[in-house]
C-alpha cells in the first residue's frame, strides 16, 4: 500500500520542516544555550528525510522492521548526545512529538476534502510517532546511565588517595561507604605507600564515612592489623560523637586501636610520636 502521507510529505517537505522547526523554536523549553539553530535545522531535516523514507513502505506500526533502522539510528544517537549534553527528558521527547503537530497541520490542509482519509492517516501517524518518541526516551535513559556509570568509576578512582603529610606520616581520608571492594583498594594503596615512603604512622580519617557498622569496623581493624604487621602504627581519626556512641552500643572493641576525634588531634599525636613539635614562629622585633 502506498502511503498518502508519504506523498504529501514529499510534496510539502519544506512546509512541514518549517512548521516543525517553528514549533520547536516557539517551545519555551528549547535549549538555545545547548545547541545552535543550525544544528537544530540539520537534525530536523535529517530525521524528516529518513522518516519519510520509512513510511513510504506503508509500514506504520512495526518500528522494529528494517525500514525504520535509519530513523532509530538517528534518534538513538541524538538522544544519547542530548543526554550527555544535559538536556532534560522533556526537551528530548519534545523534539519528536513536535513533529507530529507539524505533520498533522500539513495533512489537515492537504486532505481537507477527504475527512475519513485524514482521520485514518492522523491516527496512524500519531501512533507511529508515539512509539518513536518512547524509543527516543529509552535511548535517552541509556545515555544517562552511561554518564552515571562513568561517574561511578571516576569516584572509585579518585576516592582513595594516600597523602604524605610529613616525613614518616601518611594520611588516608576515607570518603563514602566502605565495602569489601573499596577496603581492598584502600588497604593495597596504604600498604604500598607505607613501603614506598617508609612511613611508620598512618592516619585513617573516617569523617566522610556515613555509617560505621560492624562490617566497616571489621574492615578498619583488618587494615590496621595489616599496617601493624608492616611496622606502621595506625591512628583512626574523625570519629563523630554519634558514631562513637553507636560503636559502643554495637559492642565493637577498638581498644587496641588509637582513635582521635579530629584529624588535627591525630596529626598532633603523630608529631609527638616522631618527636616533632610545632611551635609558633617568633615575631620579628
Amino acid at each position: 500500500m502506498a502511503s498518502k502521507t508519504s506523498d504529501i510529505l514529499n510534496k510539502r517537505k519544506k512546509l512541514v520542516l518549517e512548521t516543525w522547526i517553528n514549533n520547536q523554536l516557539q517551545d519555551p523549553t528549547l535549549r538555545e544555550d545547548l545547541m545552535t539553530n543550525q544544528e537544530l535545522h540539520g537534525q530536523s531535516e535529517e530525521l524528516l528525510d529518513s522518516f519519510n523514507q520509512a513510511i513510504r513502505s506503508g509500514n506504520y506500526t512495526d518500528i522494529d522492521s528494517q525500514e525504520y533502522y535509519p530513523v532509530l539510528d538517528i534518534l538513538n544517537s541524538l538522544s544519547v548526545t542530548r543526554a550527555h549534553a544535559g538536556f532534560s527528558p522533556r526537551e528530548t521527547a519534545t523534539f519528536v512529538l513536535s513533529l507530529k503537530r507539524a505533520i498533522v497541520e500539513v495533512l489537515q490542509q492537504e486532505l481537507a476534502q477527504d475527512q475519513a482519509l485524514l482521520i485514518s492517516e492522523i491516527l496512524k501517524i500519531s501512533d507511529l510517532l508515539d512509539s518513536l518518541s518512547i524509543s527516543t526516551l529509552e535511548a535517552f535513559i541509556k545515555g544517562r546511565e552511561e554518564v552515571i556509570l562513568r561517574q561511578t568509576n571516576e569516584i572509585n578512582e579518585i576516592s582513595t588517595p594516600v597523602i604524605r603529610v610529613w616525613e614518616g606520616i601518611l594520611a588516608l581520608p576515607i570518603i563514602g561507604t566502605l565495602d569489601s571492594e573499596r577496603t581492598q583498594i584502600i588497604m593495597e594503596n596504604l600498604l604500598q605507600e607505607i613501603v614506598n615512603t617508609s612511613s611508620n604512622i598512618a592516619i585513617l580519617d573516617i569523617s566522610g564515612v556515613p555509617t560505621v557498622d560492624t562490617l566497616v569496623a571489621q574492615h578498619l581493624i583488618k587494615t590496621v592489623s595489616a599496617a601493624r604487621l608492616m611496622g606502621a602504627e595506625c591512628i583512626i581519626s574523625g570519629i563523630r560523637p554519634e558514631i562513637a556512641q553507636t560503636i559502643v552500643h554495637l559492642g565493637i572493641d577498638l581498644l587496641g586501636v588509637q582513635t582521635k576525634a579530629s584529624l588535627a588531634a591525630a596529626l598532633q599525636t603523630a608529631f609527638s610520636r616522631q618527636q616533632l613539635s610545632v611551635v609558633k614562629a617568633k615575631a620579628k622585633p
Binding site: D213, Q218, E242, G251, I252
Partner: protein, 137 residues
C-alpha cells in the same frame, strides 16, 4: 497499644548498591519526622547490620520502611524479610561474638541494643523476619 502506619515503602535488596540506596531512603524518612542525629545514626547502623545479614546469608530479600505512630510517639519501623536458610538457634545468634560466618558476631546483638523494639522470627529452611522500631526521641 495500637500502632498506625503513616507512610511506607518497600525496597528490594540484592546487591551492595541496594544497601546504599536503602540507607539513603531510611535517612530521608528519619530526617522527615525530625529524628535526632544520634537516633538516626543508631537506626541506620542497626538497619545496616540487618540488611547486611540478608545479603550475606540469604543473598536477597526485601525491606519495608514505615513511619509509625502509637499516639504518644512517632518513630520508624523497619521490617527485614528474607527466604534464606534461617537461624537454627536464635538465642545463640543474639549472643555477642557468636557467628556462623566470618564476621565479628556483633551484628544481631548490636542491632538489638541500638533500637527500642527488636523482634526476630526465624524458621530454618524458610527464612527470617526481623522487625525493629526506633522512636523519634
Amino acid at each position: 497499644m495500637t500502632m498506625i502506619s503513616l507512610n511506607k515503602e518497600t525496597l528490594k535488596i540484592g546487591t551492595e548498591q541496594d544497601v546504599i540506596l536503602f540507607r539513603q531512603r531510611l535517612k530521608e524518612y528519619a530526617t522527615k519526622i525530625g529524628m535526632s542525629l544520634l537516633n538516626q545514626t543508631k537506626l541506620i547502623t542497626a538497619s545496616s547490620e540487618l540488611v547486611r545479614n540478608i545479603l550475606v546469608y540469604a543473598k536477597k530479600g526485601e525491606v519495608l520502611i514505615e513511619v509509625v505512630s502509637d499516639r504518644l510517639q512517632t518513630g520508624i519501623r523497619v521490617t527485614f524479610k528474607d527466604q534464606g536458610p534461617g537461624i537454627a538457634d536464635v538465642q545463640k545468634a543474639l549472643q555477642d561474638g557468636y557467628s556462623t560466618g566470618k564476621s565479628l558476631g556483633l551484628g544481631l546483638p548490636g542491632a538489638k541494643r541500638l533500637v527500642n523494639f527488636f523482634d526476630i522470627q526465624s524458621t530454618p529452611g524458610h527464612g527470617t523476619t526481623v522487625t525493629i522500631i526506633r522512636w523519634k526521641r
